[in-house]
């Protein structure tokens, strides 16, 4: 096997949580608020549907082919030629997705702090650190997640605890003033983010305990959705109607913290901690892409490809997205459809063909 490291179910859940939630809490409030207005906290709940659906599909597929990733069983299910093509499409999507994730990270750091630093330095430097983690294998990333994510989570919670005096629950009323449609429209972006749970298939083969995968996968989706809902609610309570105009409400919320006029201006700490989460997320994406590519090429090791693919990711992150506005517009319009077609349709297609060909997963278990 190409990867020798093993991760626990908790580490899997944490890595997937970081993959989805880290950038989701930054970008989703703005993008959903454009459609959902005051109901933006409902949107992730609708979005969770695709998250749960994808986890179920991926877990069933992994029952068909234990120890294999999506790229590998793609070929087994669809045959050599079609399988290779579909797997390539998926890999290309993953490259694009990873590039977008790096760009999201870069854009945020740029607009928050380093206004004048060229983007390539911001994304490039995190890519080098991620490359070291990826080189260490999945176990390294898992342990990092285990170490860092509690701190990251605590910092999110702390922001809103510090802001309790400024939160106004009444801001969420009236709930669903224009019916349920605006929140469903706004759920496009959460759908896209949560559909990234299809990437779980790259991690499932390396679990020490295969029994409780479904439970932990669901738990991870639930945690991500809950985080998005709570962050959206917190922002709504704090900012009310002006949330529609704020690009990074979470960042603004961190800037707003002021306790006794000495404990304030803490956004730098919050962002530094956030970068830890970003590091896990980007390493996970990076790792999946490197692993997928070497599996697609049927290579014995992925390690020589970490740096070249890292370079490719940075290239793509500069190339695919012309500007920040373009990225934000894309998130609300075209990108979610792209994410959903690739990450939802391909696994569904694979599952259908697998069920038709083998009926039950058990018959394939040796």
């Amino acid at each position: 096997m190409i990867e020798k490291g093993r991760i626990s179910c908790l580490e899997l859940a944490l890595i997937m949580y970081a993959t989805v939630a880290t950038t989701a809490i930054l970008y989703i409030p703005y993008v959903t608020a454009q459609h959902a207005k005051r109901d933006l906290w409902l949107s992730p709940i609708w979005g969770s549907l695709s998250g749960f659906l994808i986890v179920v599909i991926i877990v069933i597929l992994s029952r068909f082919f234990p120890g294999k990733t999506l790229i590998e069983y793609c070929e087994l299910i669809l045959g050599r030629t079609i399988g290779k093509i579909i797997a390539f499409l998926y890999l290309f999507f993953l490259l694009h997705d990873t590039a977008i994730a790096f760009r999201e990270y870069g854009e945020f750091v740029e607009s928050a702090f380093l206004h004048k630093t060229p983007m390539l330095f911001v994304t490039g430097s995190i890519a080098i650190s991620c490359a070291i983690a990826v080189h260490g294998g999945i176990q390294t990333i898992g342990r990092c997640a285990l170490l860092f994510l509690p701190i990251v989570l605590a910092s999110y919670v702390l922001i809103y605890i510090f802001l309790i005096p400024d939160l106004n629950v009444k801001n969420m009323l009236p709930v669903m003033a224009d019916g349920v449609m605006p929140s469903i429209k706004g759920s496009l972006a959460p759908h896209a983010w949560l559909s990234q749970f299809s990437l779980m298939s790259f991690l499932l083969p390396f679990l020490t305990n295969q029994q409780k995968v479904m439970k932990w996968g669901m738990f991870s989706v639930m945690a991500s959705v809950l985080t998005m809902v709570l962050i959206n609610l917190g922002n709504l309570f704090l900012f009310g109607d002006i949330i529609i105009n704020l690009q990074f409400p979470v960042f603004e919320a961190a800037r707003f913290v002021s306790i006794g006029s000495f404990f304030e201006h803490i956004e730098s700490i919050i962002i530094a901690v956030w970068v830890l989460g970003g590091f896990i997320q980007l390493s996970a994406f990076f790792y999946m892409l490197v692993l997928g590519t070497s599996q697609w090429l049927k290579l014995p090791s992925y390690k020589p490809f970490v740096l070249p693919i890292g370079f490719l990711i940075i290239l793509f992150s500069a190339w695919t997205i012309p500007s920040f506005e373009d990225m934000i517009r894309g998130m609300g319009t075209t990108v979610p459809f792209y994410f959903l077609t690739v990450q939802l349709l391909i696994p569904i297609l694979l599952l259908c063909v697998a069920v038709i060909r083998w009926k039950k997963p058990k018959s394939f278990l040796q």
Binding site: S111, A112, F113, L114, H115, K116, T117, P118, F121, G124, S125, I128, S129, I132, K170, L173, P174, A177, F239, G240, D241, I242, N245, L246, E252, R255, F256, S258, E264, H265
Partner: protein
């Protein structure tokens, strides 16, 4: 062989660490503290030639400041800060002009006060407020004020107790005697359904309250905005009245008297809670304002025994009446004359009657003055202070 490899390994590792430490530290955007001009307060005025005159209060850092005491006694210019101003078409434009005359880079991160001159306030502030939200340096927690006369002159004042005008205004507003509005609150008020805003009004302290002739800025009432333009002013007393329905009242002293008794009882407000209950019946819009207040007695100059439940009841009724009066007083002014919905009635109606609101939203300006307002005040006297109930001191002989 093995040794060479080990050396090579350490070398690559060393190179990698060097590389990451160079790029990861973010030194591209480094800003040294002694390259920054820290802005403590900003003022916006209507310019003479251009749109905007931006004045800023800049902090002068003094390393190893030993004789702070002597400086305080130095009097007029304490030398801790100075004011600069520039004109421009927009705030950002004026800031760029300001930068030209400064050796250090303007830094907004510590700006806690935003003053708006009354001339600009009357002209409209919605466009200029965008800068404070969009730029990544200014904080949206900064307090906003409207000043009588030019904001620049207010910034120039040197209060006795505080270091500069910025600190003075911030500390005063923190006492919650008047309204406290941050940039965030202002943005929220301007974008809310009611489209009205209220900002604290800064004036010079009246000379009768001071021992020397000096300009000391203080808060005296509030300015009322409608559609982003200042339309009127409330006196200090009226401002106290609007704090009740806005649920912002944090402290206050009531002094009441009785018909059949000489002397007064003064009570201190401990906490209060306010609720707006809107209702629309048969096309008639009305608002019920429910106030719950808890007080304690701090002075009693009447002959009443405060341990007598009847006296407490009487006093409670009196305070209820008093609070009612304060609220009614301001309502006639704000609702009938200024027609500005600074109480957030519009939002309450929207929250409770979203369907009706959607149809009537455009007519709100006509509806608001006609909304029937009723009050219900409940007062609870919690304690009677440290002294006992009787006004006479000493044992009764």
């Amino acid at each position: 062989m093995c040794k060479i490899r080990a050396i090579k390994r350490t070398f690559t590792l060393f190179l990698l660490i060097c590389l990451t430490s160079i790029v990861l530290t973010g030194c591209w955007d480094r800003t040294e503290i002694n390259d920054l001009a820290l802005i403590l307060a900003a003022g916006m005025d209507k310019g003479k030639k251009n749109n905007i005159e931006l004045s800023v209060l800049i902090f002068i850092p003094h390393p190893q400041q030993s004789g702070q005491g002597s400086e305080m006694s130095g009097g007029k210019s304490s030398g801790q800060s100075f004011v600069r101003s520039a004109e421009g078409e927009t705030v950002a434009d004026a800031m760029a002009r300001l930068q030209e005359a400064l050796t250090r880079k303007v830094f907004w991160g510590q700006n806690e006060v935003l003053l708006i001159g009354d001339k600009l306030a009357k002209k409209g502030i919605s466009e200029q407020i965008d800068f404070w939200m969009r730029h990544s340096e200014p904080r949206i927690r900064a307090d906003v004020f409207v000043s009588k006369g030019n904001a620049k002159t207010v910034l120039k004042t040197m209060p006795e107790l505080e270091k500069d005008a910025s600190k003075q205004l911030r500390k005063i507003v923190k006492t919650h005697i008047g309204v406290k509005v941050t940039v965030k609150d202002l943005l929220q008020m301007l974008s809310s359904e009611s489209n009205a805003a209220v900002l604290p009004w800064v004036e010079n302290l009246s000379p009768s309250q001071m021992d020397s002739k000096k300009a000391i800025p203080t808060i005296n009432g509030a300015a009322i905005f409608k559609d982003g333009k200042m339309v009127g002013r409330l006196s200090d007393k009226e401002t106290r009245g609007i704090l009740w329905p806005r649920n912002e009242i944090k402290s206050g002293v009531f002094t009441i008297s009785f018909k059949d008794e000489t002397g007064y009882i003064s009570l201190n407000l401990l906490r209060s809670h306010n609720e707006l209950i809107p209702s629309i019946r048969n096309g008639k819009w009305s608002m019920h304002i429910k106030t719950n207040a808890e007080l304690e007695v701090i002075q009693n100059t009447t002959k009443f025994n405060l341990f007598d439940p009847n006296v407490i009841k009487k006093a409670e009724q009196k305070v209820e009446y008093e609070i009612d009066q304060r609220e009614r007083f301001v309502f006639t002014e704000v609702q009938r004359k200024l027609k500005a919905d600074i109480f957030g009635f519009a939002d309450e109606f929207e929250k409770n009657y979203p369907q009706i609101w959607k149809q009537k939203r455009d007519q709100w300006n006509e509806i608001f003055p006609e909304v029937a307002v009723s009050f219900e005040t409940k007062v609870n006297i919690q304690r009677t202070g440290l002294a006992d109930g009787k006004p006479k001191r000493g044992a009764e002989r």
